[in-house]
């Protein structure tokens, strides 16, 4: 019995051999560039010597790197900044996207709707390098457009990118500016999918536009809103490396330094591979827990499957 099932399995493998071959290149690349780095996280427990490389014997030092990173005065600050920035981005980003979708949906002039969509989706596709250049220009305290505008109302020039009081807010707002349009797409698509007869029935019952939005559109969107919010839980340690790295400076480390930028400075600039990997490992583990629970909840409650 056992023998025949084994034979069966072999036969099936042979029949599906082309399928396995097709997967081979992708599997090999992912194995090398995703799984080996996962294994590479053991560096966190080593006194890593870069000259010897990742594949050779290194000196194991247990939790030495972890005790070291927790003696760094800035470490808690960095974790706090990451959480605050990421959570603010998630909350306000979601709200802005939903609001935009609702307003676009209410827009009765098609050409306006189309052109506004074209305009608000655009920033998503521009790199943070170029955007950092743009924002350093327009937010400059000496000749920036924003400060000239505020000056009309008697506001003194604000150093948005160099002042700890404003830096986090600037990060959150510029990030929302870049992504709210693009994030609204999925909400708008959901609204379009709502059964039109619901609106007709509501209109016959005398519900105005506002009531229709409140009692039909929003409830119709609730599932997707909850689902996407749950899934975004996996991102609370991703405060946006590309953005922060290109906008921050030593003057705003107090409020703007995040885990990823710290790992970069510690590891790639300071060549402290062990400690920086330790920070990275902490981040990866917490993210693993968060993302897995997000997917698990989404799967159990919403029958959401990734593959």
């Amino acid at each position: 019995m056992k023998k025949s099932s084994k034979k069966n399995g072999l036969k099936q493998f042979k029949r599906n051999l082309p399928l396995h071959i097709m997967l081979l290149p992708a599997v090999a690349l992912v194995l090398i560039f995703a799984y080996i780095p996962m294994y590479g996280l053991v560096i966190a427990f080593q006194n890593f010597n870069a000259a010897k490389g990742i594949f050779s014997n290194q000196k194991w030092i247990g939790f030495g790197n972890f005790t070291y990173i927790f003696t760094l005065p800035s470490i808690w600050n960095v974790f706090r900044n990451t959480l605050i920035i990421a959570v603010l981005k998630i909350i306000f980003g979601t709200l802005a996207a939903i609001a935009t979708a609702l307003l676009l949906n209410e827009c009765s002039v098609k050409t306006v709707k189309k052109s506004v969509q074209t305009m608000v989706y655009f920033p998503h596709f521009i790199s943070w390098i170029i955007l950092a250049g743009v924002f350093t220009d327009i937010l400059s305290p000496t000749d920036g457009v924003v400060n000239s505008f505020l000056g009309l109302f008697g506001v003194k020039p604000i150093y948005f990118l160099g002042d700890n009081r404003y830096f986090r807010g600037t990060l959150v707002i510029t990030d929302i500016w870049k992504s709210f349009g693009y994030s609204s797409i999925v909400y708008l698509a959901t609204i379009t999918g709502i059964d039109p007869s619901l609106y007709e029935a509501a209109a016959i019952d005398g519900a105005g536009r506002w009531k229709q939005m409140w009692h039909i559109t929003l409830p119709g969107m609730s599932t997707i809103i909850i689902l996407l919010t749950i899934l975004s839980m996996g991102n609370v340690l991703n405060a946006g490396f590309d953005q922060v790295f290109n906008l921050y400076s030593a003057a705003v480390y107090d409020t703007g330094d995040i885990i990823d930028t710290m790992v970069y400075r510690l590891g790639l600039q300071g060549a402290k591979f062990g400690p920086s990997t330790a920070v990275g490992l902490l981040k990866s583990i917490i993210s693993l827990i968060l993302i897995s629970s997000a997917y698990l909840i989404a799967w159990k409650k919403f029958d959401y499957k990734v593959f």
């Binding site: 992912v30 080996i36 327009i138």
Partner: protein
């Protein structure tokens, strides 16, 4: 009357009974949306204006809404710079390598994964193999050390290979492949086509929309990538966005000859930077209409699927 009705966007005319309040709301809504759109575009427009204005106008802070004293000096200076062209070349090279390799590898992988678990039992294993990389990753330092250890540093492959397989894009392909009618596949099978021929002669031709989506996403990602260029390449091999970063943040002085420095001193830094940012964004501008045609379906599929 009939024409107006056709313009209603699907919600039925009963919704279009307009009270004065509704009319006011409509107008306010339209104005608000247009302002929103302009806020999204103005920063780019501002940089375009700066890049086409004369030094004097920029220095006197006279440029806000349109180019003042039209001038192409900044563009001339940038286009004469060799490092600029070189970095552009590296970016084009990486796109030309990544795009075909990535598309082929991902199509090949998405096809078996779109099969039923009963037909392809090992699918579950492979799915978990890819899914785990979405849950956990080695992060910046181990990846850097790996690429260095493989001897890829300062070669174009350091920019190509690690990004070839994008699980998110593979998911897009997979969901599309899954919806290919079974009948087509069966017909191909009966005609004696193997899996490879079925993929390239049946699946790929009817999946053009999703292939376009994934190709455009890959293109934009590669065009905009800067971090890998910064950590893996030496400064004379920087791809465009990494090179732009050095310009925007003024790290570039060492590479200038004395003559260039003199000329640079006469130019306005601001309009120079602006000119390079504008050039750096031009390809995105050019593919944007095509992008827009496809990404809506892509993102809708994508955000409900990963």
């Amino acid at each position: 009357m009939a024409r107006r009705k056709r313009e209603d966007d699907g919600f039925g005319s009963s919704r279009q009974i307009k009270s004065p309040a509704a009319k006011v709301f409509n107008v306010v809504n339209i104005i608000f949306l247009l302002i929103l759109g302009l806020i999204c575009l103005y920063p780019f427009w501002y940089e375009i204006c700066i890049s086409f204005s004369s030094n004097a106008a920029v220095n006197a802070k006279r440029v806000y809404f349109y180019p003042v004293e039209f001038s192409m000096e900044a563009f001339k200076y940038v286009l004469e710079r060799r490092p600029f062209w070189k970095s552009l070349g590296y970016t084009v090279l990486r796109v030309c390598l990544t795009l075909p390799i990535s598309m082929v590898v991902m199509c090949l992988a998405a096809y078996p994964l779109s099969k039923n678990n009963l037909v392809f039992r090992a699918r579950t294993f492979y799915v978990w193999f890819f899914f785990l990389t979405m849950l956990f990753n080695g992060g910046m330092i181990p990846t850097y050390l790996l690429v260095t250890g493989l001897g890829l540093k300062n070669t174009i492959w350091a920019l190509v290979l690690p990004t070839t397989v994008n699980v998110f894009n593979m998911l897009l392909l997979l969901s599309f492949f899954r919806n290919v009618p079974d009948g087509l596949e069966d017909a191909a099978r009966i005609d004696g086509a193997g899996h490879f021929r079925t993929l390239f002669q049946i699946f790929v031709p009817i999946s053009k929309p999703v292939l376009a989506t994934v190709a455009l996403f890959t293109l934009v990602n590669n065009w905009n990538a800067w971090f890998d260029g910064m950590i893996y390449m030496q400064s004379d091999k920087y791809p465009l966005q990494t090179y732009l970063r050095t310009i925007i943040f003024n790290f570039d002085f060492q590479s200038l000859t004395l003559e260039e420095r003199v000329r640079l001193a006469q130019m306005n830094q601001k309009s120079l930077k602006a000119a390079q940012m504008v050039i750096g964004a031009i390809p995105i501008l050019m593919v944007y209409p095509f992008l827009q045609k496809y990404f809506v379906s892509g993102i809708t599929l994508g955000s409900v699927k990963g």
